[in-house]
């Protein structure tokens, strides 16, 4: 049978023949030539992907820092300064997004979307947080994308571009945040708003929690409309959103029921234990 035969094969298999055959492959045959170009193409694509991942990480970090900054707005006397500083930070993030958009000119967005999606979601979270603090409303995805239209303003930039490219380079280009990234960013925003609610109570502000509660409820309603028809990530965020909303509603309840009993300066204490618990849950250091 073939089983017994195979044992002998291992001893006598002409490895020399195999090596010889491989050496006979013509390195400049049509097939090899096309594979060499495949190598180049794949390497180029992978390099671009890595560059985008790095940019996305930078975008994430700077957006997160902006969010931390904005949290200080509530308790700070210099709110105006903080808002201005946040704008500067977000401009820096938009500069990175501009580079992302540049990398993506002429490329199929889908392939690289996974590289940049986390960064964009974090940016949506930061910019919508800032927008909420300023206007008490939710920024639209159109409004976000309006800020992501870039032009080649410096003469230096333009000459670089035209000397490097064979085709005509566009002088304006943009990045469109996808609806999915927008939704996921907004979902993360609700977590920040929940924290805002708790911290504002700690500052003796008993109006903000109720405003936030209403606002969050609207967002929640919007999300339930989409329900499970969206991608998996949205459903996951929906669950966290429900929890954030519940926390805010409980805070409002506590204020309502016990607010009149507790002197304002002690309100902070009532919520301090709650905040600790929440921070533990969220895994914050």
């Amino acid at each position: 049978g073939s089983g017994g035969f195979r044992k002998r094969k291992h001893d006598n298999f002409p490895h020399g023949q195999r090596r010889e055959e491989k050496e006979n492959v013509n390195p400049s045959s049509a097939l090899m030539t096309s594979f060499k170009s495949f190598q180049l193409e794949l390497d180029t694509r992978h390099d671009k992907y890595e560059r985008l991942v790095k940019l996305s990480r930078d975008i994430t970090i700077e957006s997160k820092r902006t969010i931390f900054l904005l949290h200080r707005f509530i308790s700070a006397p210099n709110g105006e300064e903080i808002l201005n500083e946040s704008e500067v930070k977000l401009d820096a993030v938009r500069w990175k997004i501009k580079q992302v958009a540049q990398e993506l000119i002429g490329e199929d967005m889908y392939q690289f979307h996974r590289a940049i999606s986390p960064g964009l979601q974090e940016y949506v979270e930061a910019v919508s947080f800032q927008y909420f603090i300023k206007t008490r409303s939710l920024i639209s995805v159109e409004e976000i994308n309006k800020q992501l239209i870039f032009t080649a303003e410096d003469r230096e930039e333009t000459t670089n571009m035209t000397s490097n490219s064979h085709d005509k380079q566009p002088h304006t280009w943009s990045l469109k945040v996808t609806p999915v990234d927008y939704l996921l960013g907004v979902a993360d925003l609700t977590g920040e708003l929940m924290r805002l609610c708790i911290s504002s109570v700690g500052n003796g502000d008993i109006d903000t929690p109720f405003e936030l509660s209403q606002f969050l409820r609207q967002i929640y309603d919007g999300f339930t409309f989409i329900g499970n028809t969206g991608p998996y990530e949205v459903s996951k965020k929906l669950y966290t959103l429900k929890q954030s909303l519940a926390k805010v509603e409980n805070a409002c309840y506590t204020l309502k029921v016990r607010g009149s009993e507790i002197p304002k300066h002690m309100l902070a204490d009532v919520f301090s234990t709650k905040t600790e618990l929440i921070d533990q849950e969220e895994g914050l250091p």
Binding site: L31, Y110, L138, V141, P179, G222
Partner: protein
Amino acid sequence: VPKKCQKAREHFGTVRTQMESLKTKFHEHWRFVLQRLVFLAAFVVYLESETLVTREAVAEILGIEADRERGFHLDIEDYLSGVLTLASELARLAVNSVTAGDYSRPLRISTFINELDSGFRLLNLKNDSLRKRYDGLKYDVKKIEEVVYDLSIRGLNKEAVVGA
């Protein structure tokens, strides 16, 4: 506040309508079918000419754009996946050729597969699905080598060379 409520709801309405036209999901659905089609095209071309079909030729056969364009296009990774499926099928063909008494075809398949393997060795692949499929190529190579070996120790390949 009611004004702001309305605005928030409107925004979600826009988002909803945009979700309908998500292209990303669409692309993933078609990947498997596309790779299968590449394989079939490559197989036909191999049987006709014993060469590897080029990417451009496949695109022409399938009636799609070879280069990057919005929507349907033949991605290099889909092309390569289809080619790897061809390798597996050729290993099978080699075996069945012998059974059918054709002793020369396996030799030619062997040469072709070795060249294909050398080509793939040039590529720097990431740890994705293409890489996993490429890992299967060595088993195809081995199988074909075994067929060639079986023929050579029985002297059957010499017959084939003389006959060809």
